[in-house]
Amino acid sequence: MTRTLQAAWTIARKDLRIEARSRELVYTTLFFAVACLLVFAFAFVRERPIDNAAAGILWVALAFSGTLALGRTFERERQGETLRALLLAPVERGAVYLGKLIALLLLMAAVELIVVPIVGLLFSAPLLRAPALLAGLLALGTIGFAAIGTLFAAMLVRASSRDVLLPILLYPMTAPLLIAGVQGTAAIFADEPNLALAENWLAMLLFFDAVVVTVALWVFGAVMTE
């Protein structure tokens, strides 16, 4: 287990080092997310934002920008067929999955650190009403999204139509997660907040993540062996 975690961290650190050098993913993902928010802000904010708009727009921006990051992070592994090199390493193949997942999560977290305050600013969202609960929803939602996305992106890395297939597979599978995220966040942002309801959605996200990560770790080795 320790060896698996060490290998996963080695892979994640390698991804982060490459990203720190190129800043390609963080810039494209961030600019895309901010552009989304601005477009929505011009469309939905007049004197005051439409009810629940902030929650939906936040999660749409995160999901779309996350998809962008997913595709690109595995495109890097396709160049030079380095994903095969990772699969050849004498560690559980789940470590490869975990490493890619950790790197993606850290990247998405960095983007969220900038995007969430912008949502607060543009849509007058009360970010500090229940900050721990909001952070929990975002963290668990991001983990679930990245967990499913990492598995599918790895499976599709050699498919010629991967850019089309990834969203087709990803969005239906992550729909429950996105709904839970939006509903939970909306319950916090509402004029009459319902924190108990938000906690219920948080619990659902936790359950979803546990199932998704377990299944992904279980099947990753098998699906990556051609």
Binding site: R3, Q6, A7, T10, I11, K14, R17, I18, R21, S22, R76, Q79, G80, E81, T82, R84, A85, L86, L87, L88, A89, P90, V91, E92, R93, T225, E226
Partner: protein
């Protein structure tokens, strides 16, 4: 210098046996009941026209692919019996070089060294850079190297953990005469140290000087290339003609 098997490990093997291995991709048959043996201290060339199944065979030997039928034994054990540790005894130099262009030569080697649990990482990486004759460019990005330099780096990456089974797919591609001679010397060194080397190549002239035995794959079927006098290319053509007769 890195690159040769160190002291035998508990799960080491001294031969690889391929028995009746077939592999299909949809309706296309890539390998058809292929059987061959490779022994420690031997360099086996796998020859054949494009699309003959050479890379598929190497992929299956590397455990990246599963055979549709048949089995491969690494010593006495199959890949499933040997577990993840088996991959630590296999080194692969693919046609794609398995290098990160954004990382430097040293960072590439350190990364793979860590994944493979290589001991004395700094010393091993320095030795590998010396073997690749890249010490003076160790901190340059691999993406900035020419194909030949990347090929040399990729070879040392494949040998970093002193594998028992070395699988090389077109290792002479993109190498100048000097680098090809260097690679040939590395292959002889591996043989001397008791590695099992399986090499798919189209470079008959260069391979002729180093291989101990050759087999020919054609349309997924394997046939021995006769040992003995005459250039490897002629013996290969003869085997191919017989296979197609």
């Amino acid at each position: 210098m890195s690159g040769g098997p160190h002291a035998p490990e508990p799960d080491d093997f001294d031969h690889v046996t391929v028995r009746d291995v077939s592999r299909t991709f949809g309706r296309r048959r890539a390998l058809a009941r292929v059987s061959l043996d490779c022994r420690a201290g031997e360099i086996l060339a796998v020859l054949g026209p494009n699309g003959a199944g050479k890379s598929t065979l190497l992929g299956i030997l590397a455990t990246l692919m599963r055979p549709t039928d048949g089995e491969i034994r690494y010593g006495a054990r199959t890949a499933a019996e040997a577990g993840d540790g088996l991959r630590g005894r296999i080194g692969v130099l693919g046609h794609d070089l398995f290098l990160y262009g954004e990382l430097t030569a040293r960072e590439n080697l350190r990364f793979f060294g860590r994944l493979y649990g290589v001991g004395d990482l700094d010393g091993t990486v320095d030795a590998a850079l010396t073997a690749a004759r890249l010490s003076d460019r160790a901190d340059d990005r691999a993406g900035a190297f020419s194909r030949g330099l990347r090929q040399r780096l990729a070879l040392e990456r494949a040998l970093l953990h002193a594998p028992r089974l070395v699988l090389l797919d077109e290792p002479f591609t993109g190498l100048d005469d000097d680098s090809a001679a260097h690679l040939s010397a590395r292959l002889r060194d591996l043989r001397r140290r008791g590695a099992i080397v399986v090499m798919a190549t189209h470079d008959f002239e260069t391979a002729d000087a180093v291989v101990d035995r050759a087999v020919c794959l054609d349309n997924g079927r394997v046939r021995d290339v006769a040992a003995g006098p005459g250039p490897l290319r002629e013996r290969y053509r003869h085997a191919l003609r017989e296979a197609r007769a």
